[in-house]
Symmetry: C2
Subunit: 496 residues, 2 copies
């Protein structure tokens, strides 16, 4: 089946329609927006077997993996809807006025309002959770924005089916059609036209560094620059302290092997770099881990393009000096991964930043440090990451505060004695790290705080109570948390 | 007195020192940071007569105006310190784990952490409040960042004196020297070197569109792009609805005349555009307002460069079709303003965006609409603004929701029956609007929410309670507001 790329005219038409729909949708109450998201989740649940079957054909992901992802998507929709309705994300602030003050103090009331039409790019590795009705879309709709999807060509059919479900739901709820639009674009041109359109107000993207950076640059070069939240992957380094490694050599090897190879390594939180200090124990760990990597079969990746990139990037790393410790190249097909553990001395890693780069897939590089001091150097030399992980005993954690401080500066999420894969959907999740992991570390792509990417504060000065939005009215009719004269409260406000 | 521009080596040295100091300062407790800000305010208060005298000589601002600004600066320092210590700005979130869940749920705890060294550019029009120890600096220090000031050349002496006070206070409190550094730079080179330095993590700027845009571009083009919060001014349109104008013709004219000419029009919230519907009442209003503009004397502007720009931009507007209604050109000196009210038909305004541009100083352009529909068109055509203002009776406000909606989309603060000048320092203030008013409408430059510009969330996954920062520990030793399992609370957390 062939999907036709949108034309520049169609992009323009979509933005006009989206901007018009935004005017209406942005005014829907928190509850109405939440109900829409609940209904989308319901509709997707109803057609889940159909969705799973299309996605399986398009992505090579197995049914179990896709089921987990679809459930995650429904949970995102409903939990962000909960957060939307609960309203704390609006950052409501009220400072009552004082007419008697020498130079009267105005009455000021602030809340977040939606930015406008948001363009969301489907992610190759998550056909449900970070694509058409995925996290970015759920956040943008919760914020009150209209959404235009640029479908990922690797699962354009899944995307189209999901989009139809969202649109059907919108129609049922009497929402304007333009609230959620769907375009195909196999090449870069459609995305470019979407980002450059003057009516586009923000962008959500999950994908490669090259893709994300190109969108970021286009957005910054517009007459009116717009925010781009691009989640561009990461090597998610895992630092192995000696005592912990000695205590749990086999267990850590097994945990990491599973994390490296899970879903053919196609997670942006895949641990692509392991850092340890040379020792007999590290050799043992390497052997255990290598053994499990060898036992992992080459498997079809999401699409041939990803497999090609994997093989190219893996070869490039080897060319740069990564030495293969363990791999499984038996009968590898062109569209398959080659599970690999490689190693490199820290000295070489520190000198060659090409070795720091992500090899998206089941590949991990063990960086062997001569000393703990060199390990600290590695921590300071790595680029911004979605996650860093520390494997350490309590005693080691207490003794290595300099290493811990260095790693804190590098990541958005800091895992202790666990693996970075498995990104829990929760308000306290941070999925967004210092560049180049994401383009703005001040926001998250996972968890309801992600709604704030697509909203901005608007302050009302001296408006009459009945002209204010319900969220800011004296009587607090929605019963929301608000900071009133610097105190958090759900109480009504006394003001004249 | 001559101030020497920093060399590239000095810029580099400053960043190295700042990054080192950040390591130590970022770990100071909220209370320690707050105490530092209180002490800076105290020290500045102690030397206030000296500060006022230097600033008066450098800026042509009179003592009364400077006193108000200095007090505002002290209030900013102390109120942001209050907010820093109170800790709600940290957006603390805790989701406790569940080991019994099928695929165990991790324990996740998130808080804002400082970005790193922040470069703050002094503003020409606010030698105290938006310069050396001004709003950006107070926010960055509250966030836990180190600060490097690029002094504004128009008040380099004031800046140096304030910096000495901050540094003296830091020393007294045992804070590392590099926490607050001060560089001169009359040209663009020093600022450029500061922004391009790899250790710089964020930028605060208040000034012209050209200046802010240049910094934004440099920051976006870095290997590691960094956030720039540039507040670049605004024309702050005031929409005058007919009935309100008829009811209070003289009063509105007086309010606006004062707002236009206050502090020689050198506020970024100066009402540079007034929009009304052609009528006898509008003519009366124009006459009243013009009369008061005429009675305002030409006055020295902040520095000769600003006066030159004012005269050039005013001439340019006239060249583009703005017709002078009232002005006072009596004995105008080269470094002085020329108070001006001009007018233009809306039709012409809609066709020529050059007429939308800010003329920084005591200048305002009355846009005369043929109909209310044309007024709506003007609202839709204006660029992003720090503020919009609506003058309307309650009845008019209720009847003109389309106009109100259009204006909401254009501004960060929406004033009802007041003037845009006078930016209250309060948590509910929003001083940041859609581009080109600022480079990121999701943040504010005034009010304690401005702290968030310089911080990012960091999530701790499965850390032991005693290894967590105090802010996130089970027992809540600091007594902060935290969202625990989606509920706001100050209670301790039950978790194993």
């Amino acid at each position: 089946m062939k999907y036709v790329d949108a034309t520049v005219e169609e992009v323009n038409e979509a933005l006009l329609q989206s901007a018009k729909a935004f005017q209406l949708y942005g005014k829907r109450s928190l509850k109405e927006r939440a109900n829409f998201l609940y209904a989308v989740a319901e509709e997707m649940k109803n057609i889940s077997s159909e969705l799973l079957s299309i996605a399986q054909k398009e992505t090579h992901l197995d049914e179990a993996r896709l089921k987990v992802e679809l459930n995650r998507t429904l949970f995102q929709l409903t939990s962000y809807a909960d957060a939307c309705a609960e309203g704390t994300w609006l950052d409501l602030r009220i400072d009552t006025g004082d007419k008697a003050r020498n130079s009267p103090k105005p009455d000021l009331r602030k809340m977040l309002v939606p930015l406008g039409p948001v363009v969301v790019f489907g992610a190759s590795n998550f056909p449900f959770a970070y694509s058409t009705a995925g996290g970015d879309t759920a956040c943008a709709l919760a914020a009150g924005c209209s959404v235009i999807i640029k479908a990922h060509p690797a699962h354009a059919g899944t995307s189209e089916r999901v989009a139809a479900a969202v649109q059907k739901t919108a129609k049922k709820q009497g929402l304007p059609e333009g609230i959620f639009l769907h375009l195909h674009g196999a090449g870069f041109e459609v995305g470019k036209a979407l980002i450059q359109h003057p009516l586009t107000k923000a962008v959500g993207f999950t994908g490669s560094f090259e893709g994300g950076k190109a969108l970021f640059d286009l957005a910054a070069q517009r007459n009116e620059p717009i925010p781009v939240f691009a989640e561009m992957g990461s090597v998610n380094p895992v630092f192995l302290l000696p005592q912990k490694l000695a205590n749990e050599t086999g267990k850590l090897a097994s945990m990491l092997a599973a994390s490296i190879t899970q879903s053919v390594g196609q997670f942006c939180t895949n641990p692509g770099i392991l850092v340890g200090v040379k020792s007999k124990v590290l050799d043992e760990f390497k052997e255990f881990l290598g053994e499990q990597i060898k036992q992992t079969s080459p498997t079809s990746m999401l699409h041939p393009g990803i497999a090609k990139s994997f093989q190219k990037n893996r070869a490039k790393a080897i060319e740069e000096g990564a030495v293969v410790v363990a791999t499984n190249e038996a009968d590898v097909e062109e569209d398959e991964s080659i599970p690999t553990l490689a190693e490199v001395p820290a000295e070489q890693f520190l000198q060659n930043t090409l070795l720091h780069k992500e090899v998206f897939g089941p590949y991990s590089l063990l960086v062997e440090c001569a000393t703990k001091e060199e390990m600290l150097e590695v921590a300071k030399a790595i680029e911004g990451q979605l996650t860093c992980t520390l494997m350490a005993t309590d005693e080691e954690a207490n003794k290595n505060s300099e290493l811990i401080d260095a790693l804190k500066e590098k990541c958005g999420r800091f895992v202790f004695n666990g693996v970075p894969t498995g990104v829990e959907v929760a308000l306290s999740m941070q999925h967004g790290g210092p560049y180049p992991a994401t383009t703005d570390s001040r926001f998250t792509a996972v968890g309801a705080d992600g709604i704030k990417r697509f909203a901005r504060p608007l302050c009302f000065q001296n408006w009459n109570n009945d002209l204010l939005p319900d969220e800011l009215k004296n009587e607090n009719p929605l019963g929301l948390w608000r900071t009133v004269n610097n105190v958090l409260s759900k109480d009504p406000v006394n003001a004249d």
